[in-house]
């Protein structure tokens, strides 16, 4: 493998995507506020999109399928962020805190 052609190796993109997924999961475990967990979730979304794009570029016969899938992922991620932030704001208004440990009672 010619090191100058590193950008045409699918494994490079897949390893970067695996790194993004691992960082996202680490953040999801370690973060203690809801916004931090949301950001880690976005990293996991990014990992999925990068996987879609890499496999689309190197193995799919139709080059536009993966791009459309990633567009849909972006749309869903935007919707998810809007909903999540409104829930976070509602939670903060009721509890005066967005630390996940504080949110330990259910209304029943």
């Amino acid at each position: 493998m010619n090191p100058a052609q590193i950008y045409s190796q699918p494994a490079v993109y897949l390893v970067v995507a695996a790194f993004l997924l691992a960082t996202g999961i680490y953040g999801l475990i370690r973060r203690r506020t809801l916004i931090g967990m949301l950001i880690s979730g976005e990293l996991i979304f990014a990992a999925a999109s990068l996987n879609f794009m890499a496999l689309n570029r190197f193995t799919a016969p139709d080059q536009s399928v993966g791009q459309i899938a990633v567009l849909f992922i972006m749309g869903l991620a935007a919707a998810e962020v809007a909903i999540t932030l409104s829930i976070i704001i509602a939670v903060y208004r009721n509890y005066r805190s967005i630390v996940s440990k504080d949110l330990n009672e259910l209304k029943g």
Binding site: T23, G27, D62
Partner: protein, 178 residues
Amino acid sequence: MNTFPFSDWLVAGIFVVCVATTITGALIAAFTKRIIRSVAGLAVCCLGLAGLYYFLNSPFLALMEILIYIGAVCVTIIFGVMLTEPDEPTPENFARPYPVIAPLVSLAIAGGIFLGIAKLSLSGHWSAPATLVGDGSVKAIGVALLTTYSVPFELISLVLLVAILGALVIARSGRTKE
């Protein structure tokens, strides 16, 4: 023979910069204490990711990544940070129950996932397709969105509409009560 013999290395250098930007942004997003730095790390990560999309023959998605993730998602999260408390709890308020074991276990889980998937990616045989039926241009994407994928396209607009209305309703409900 190429007129500029080092142009390949220049392109490879730009690629390495993109990969480094992505990884650095992800590390900043996951490891800093202050949430606002974490958001900035996410923005840096998305910038690098846009570069990677460009290398994957999709300048359209690179533009969309910058527009949607940096321009919309990160800014929205910053608004969320502004409206709630900005930081992780300090150790005086919240002592972590396992200050040594827990980071090690989380690192082990994340490292295991990374090593496993990386090993799979490196050992897989990613064969090129025999025939290319589409070139992946913006025109092809537009045609596919309005013919083959028209139903998901309409559904996602519905999802976005419902998400906007739901976000308004949820964030508003607490305010009318008082």
